[in-house]
Amino acid sequence: MSETPVLQIRSLKTYFYTKNGVVKAVDGVDLDVGKGRITALVGGSGSGKSMLSMSVMNLVEKPGRIIDGQVWLNGRDLRTLSEKELKDVRGKEIAMIFQEPTSAMNPVLKVKNHLFEAVHTHDKKLRMRDKLDEFRDVLLRVGLGNPDKILESYPFELSGGMCQRVMVAMGIVTNASVLIADEPTSSLDLTTQAAILEELLRLKDAGMAIVLITHDLGVVAQTADDMYVIKDGKVIESGPVCDVFASPQQAYTKFLMEPIALLR
């Protein structure tokens, strides 16, 4: 990477202070996310991938606390910003796609309101009717046919996979410079998964920096440029995807890759 990365994380530490001791969810992570690249965070469940993304957004809740480190976004350290300034960063400069598609949507809001809120939060002058065409277009791109009907639907009227695609659409309409996608394809069939991944690749080509959190190495191999293997809150291996896949250095990485090797 010759260009300066959009998002640079330096020795970030997020600890949880519980009755049974300190849990180091994120323990000194360094990470670079380049513009126009897809950076994959790989690791088993409980490895701290999702906590890392919450820490980047500064949304860690008690008993968790970010105790150290810097998060540089476009030359500003997010850790030094006030809560008010952070609200302008969240959803505008960094957008996030949440893991649980059905619970990450408000049951009383229609899909169009979800999409609209994603953009309206940062631009109060926007009108719903001016955005509808764009929303339809985005829904089609994430593989949801019949977008007019989807826009008027409530989350409970959609399947989990459809909700997940709406979530991806919500990430897309923000037009943020960094998109953090937490397991965006986990509950999709292979065809839809391919459509979403294609869309992510298209966004990447348009210059978005994408952080892809996943445990699916197949997805990583198909889309990502760089990868970070995370275990127990630490980055244990990183580099361009092809290098890591060609010669994994760590036992844990090899272990994660085993299922794929078996298929070969």
Binding site: R90, G91, F98, S103, M105, N106, E117, Y154
Partner: protein, 289 residues
Amino acid sequence: MVRNILRKLLHNKAAMSGLAVILLLVFAGIFAERISPHDPYKVDLAVKLLGPSARYPLGTDQLGRCILSRLIYGTRTSLYTAMTVTLVILAIGVPLGIIAGYIGGAVDNMIMRLADIASTFPSSLLALAIVGIFGPSLYNLMLVFIFLWWAPFARMVRSSVIKLKETEFVMAAEAAGSRRISIILKHIFPNTLSPIIAYATLRIAAVIVHIAGFSFIGLGSQPPTADWGVMLNDGRQYISSYPMLLIWPGLMIVVVVLAFNLFGEGLNDALIPSSEERAIVKETGGANV
């Protein structure tokens, strides 16, 4: 979603008949002047204690006042007080519940201890105290229920807010940079509404029973006000000779309370999909005197 709820509600015959009775009574209350055959306060001892006739459809009381007219005006008193009290306790309880649940910590603790006090304080005791200090009146009685009955609403709202605060969609809204106030108004408040609406309907019935009860023992509306509780009290001494003086207002109370309970239960079933939460409203919501 609204369509689904309406459909469920429309198919519930009990709820619909409850609603029909409520609407009829509201209509009667609003247009009391037009539909009452007589002035409910006009005393005419020449026609006292008459049985039903064409002129006095339900007869007259011991002072010769038309019972039907008094019942119709009593509808106005009853519904007006019950609805006002319920709206005010909603206006107090819901925001306090949201504040307690959302902010948490010491604020939560303080509000919830106040709620504990309010919900353990016996209403009859407070009624006696307030009436003792300020004198008996319907408004003083309304104050008693406002002071005490905001608590269950605050508690209900608080518990749903605490649950909602942890949901991913609230976290997603935070991650999207939404302001606190818009998270509360768009994501939290609308999701607390269903149990509140159902519970409030049931509470109206409870307020009606309580106000009538306190008016009966002389702590609420004062004679000669056309109020069902007052009518019951007035008719007390004629219980053996002219029982209809008591039966009519008693019947009205039963009918209106039943109507609100049926409708409230119907709303409850339609609005709250999980039977577990429904049980909570049912257990605490009925007009238990």
